[in-house]
Symmetry: D2
Subunit: 277 residues, 4 copies
């Protein structure tokens, strides 16, 4: 299990989301409420775009987020209008920087909460399905990174929701071939620096939790006293593994088997169905 | 808050205590039951004496114990008849190797769970009270290490319980001078490689938890099926922050304001009263 | 021995100085030319001011600079008009984050190359001379950090060159009392976010190397083809442990027993004499 | 480039070889003489067999060997009659524990100095050639680990020199298919806990350096004053990337395209020729 957060909107200091909320991501690293484990201490990562929206910066470390001083320094000095943050709870693979999220390829970032069931048995076939030209860029040993490279293989650059659907379909198909009943559990966020897609899906009945924030203009009326809401524009949106606090009306569940597109203009919520690639 | 374990007796692989018990120290790093915090993920340390009982080896790391592979390797290959293990939950000082327990000086090892209240305010006066000849050996920034150096200053080498009583008395006296109502919370283990002293004391009403194992010959009769009890001799004794499992009859609370001496022959339980140095 | 770099001027990506020059600071981490050791692999740090020149961000790590991926990420995404960078070669104290430079206190940053001779023997007296109100902010175990806190004690906030002179005088006086012939070797950079002071001094004959860059307008005429010189303004100045390359006319030695003030308007070079505090 | 050491013989403290010699492996981490780089600071590893010669313990860390305190602690407390030690200089892959040598599989240990040329391009095909049943045990991203798994695939358990020859032949064949002129540079040590095989081979003209120690009984006569030689038995043998000192008569070069078998009884030196698997 892991926890993550994807921010889009008015450029803010990372700490505004990572440290300041009552149940911030840092708090979740010790006291997650909606996950299988309360502790997410197997490393963390943040990825952010600078103003020019080129290749994002990715800072990852194997230490727990709650005690990492460099993360606190960055969070209080770096401002961004599109960033990802992730805290990891390893499901068995090594605690090492190359296994920390987000993963990056060119301008793309990817992070994941969930698991491929029996990954150990499926790993080779999954790796073989990655575009040979991309294979050597795989640096770590997680299912999450291979899911990213499969999505890249299946056309992430041209059609993100389609590529993720094909990735999920491929994982499910391969799993079923190997006799795995429920091969995939995932909440995934992926961005190209302009738009962010957030997916919630499970091969079984109970998907991992995923929430998105309500429209800022609505929230401002409900909570005129919340400063942060006054400081950010209407295009600001958060997608999170679990709510950062208990503000009434602030959080909406992403339905199972669906995905959210956070983009300039109106965001969209659509159904998600894995497809055979 | 931290958790610790002190083992004396028949040489065993460290893993027999660190990993194998149902509620082992490694399990406590994620799921402590009797502490203020459930997570003890701010580093760990093990210290052990080799057969010749010279200077103990001390291996410490800032990573959480639960995911540290080197600890697992050591624990499955190193055998010792007297070892300490500690998992840390920082009360504010840096997560760094020199702040991890156990601390060592010559043949002595020391580890601690608890805190000096308002340590930040008392730190300078505490440091000044350390024997000037020892001052430069202080490497970290914790209250625990300074408590050790104060005990060394106050005669640990000649009279361990007396030195610890004088250390506690000094800390309490200094605290009271600075208007601190309850200056000291401690469970401390200290050893010279032959005997181990384990102290439980609090300036306030509620001391941190501390337990010692029952006599092996008694436990063997109660639990003839527990293999470990067949493999270790009658002199084997464990002192722990919290029980390693639910074996009926296995664990006894160290009373508040008292200390246990684990030694060749009969162990002893005595009252502990801080004294002015 | 360590190596460091202090940049002031037109905001640039940190990588412009840390990675791109022929003999960049990263190159010096493996192949220093003018130091006692060629390898500076005991950790690193960067500290930078954001546009608002408040408290600087400090990112430090114990890993060698040459292989640290987070440093590379930061350096290629963070832009600053005033930053420090330091690579460490420990002279014996622990390799830990709190021993990495730069050190920070409020808006001040400090970094050092050199050593207090026989620091182990002098450490207690040096620590005692630190303002008691500051004592608890000492986190590490280096001579460099204590030098910073002594300078703060002796008035860094009001009179930086005077405070550093008093710190140096105090160290020399104390050293001589303890029979240390040449107590101090130092090149120090300190900044409040507006001005930077860089000192070069040794109690013995041979001070550590220190250089500053020539005036940008002069260099532009000499080297019209060097792009970097076209991109930065006339106020841009570098102070470095050793030149970042072999550009003719680019580097000037800071004379022994002197200090440079890098500031808005004309920079100044003045003599430095330790004084008794 | 890396440096390594393989010890077989009378059980000794690891420090006898890692720290005490004039040009010990720790000294080589900062000042290697015969390698392409003088610094080997990208992590280290030690692997040793306990008395029962079961699965070896493997302790690896990404920090430089010269400053790692845990390595010093282990080396001064752990005794072994068969151990490997390795210091790493990365040729580009991540500095992470799973990329540090020695690698282990069951009772086997493997370490390597050298490189597969253009590994990035060959990596996928190399990985595909690994026995599918072993694929998921690959944890890191180095050429060295894949060479190990290829040797395991090609029969290391039954015929170590043959398996290594087939691995080398496969790498060369694949490299030539991809237009790589000189695909392989290697000095490899591999052991099952009883015997150690040390290979020296290069597809090009200039192989990496490799030496083995002279017979102890011969050395004792030459150097009756060297204590270490009095303390170890006649079966003691060292294989090293470069000599640990300048003792006349102590070191012999392993000829290019050959391998040494260190075993109970007479050791053997034989020719090595890659073969197509």
């Amino acid at each position: 299990m892991c926890r993550w957060l994807a921010y889009s909107g008015t450029p803010v200091l990372l700490e505004a989301l990572l440290y300041r909320p009552q149940h911030s991501l840092i708090d979740q690293s010790l006291h997650a409420r909606l996950g299988a484990e309360t502790t997410n201490g197997d490393g963390f990562g943040v990825g952010w775009y600078a103003d020019d929206r080129g290749t994002p910066a990715i800072v990852r470390d194997t230490s727990p987020a709650w005690s990492n001083r460099n993360l606190r320094e960055l969070a209080s000095h770096v401002r961004s209008g599109l960033f990802f943050a992730h805290i990891r709870a390893s499901t068995g693979t090594a605690v090492q920087q190359t296994n920390c999220h987000p993963f990056r390829h060119g301008r793309w970032m990817w992070m994941h909460n969930g698991a491929i069931t029996d990954f150990h048995r499926l790993r080779r076939d999954l790796a073989l399905a990655v575009d040979p030209a991309l294979f050597s860029s795989i640096e770590g040993s997680t299912d999450s990174e291979i899911m990213f490279f499969l999505a890249l293989t299946f056309g992430l650059d041209q059609d993100p929701p389609g590529a993720v659907a094909r990735m999920a379909g491929f994982v499910e198909g391969l799993g079923h071939e190997h006799g795995v009943q429920h091969p995939l559990q995932m909440t995934v966020a992926v961005t190209d620096g302009e738009r962010t897609w957030a997916f919630r899906y499970s091969s079984a009945d109970t998907p991992r939790s995923l929430f998105f924030s309500s429209r800022v203009e609505t929230l401002r009326k409900l909570h005129p006293d919340v400063t942060f809401l006054q400081e950010v524009g209407d295009e600001t949106r958060l997608v999170v593994s679990e709510p950062l606090g208990d503000l009434p009306g602030a959080w909406n569940e992403v339905p199972d088997s669906s995905y959210l597109v956070v983009q300039p203009g109106t965001d969209e919520l659509r159904g998600f169905v894995p497809v055979s690639p």
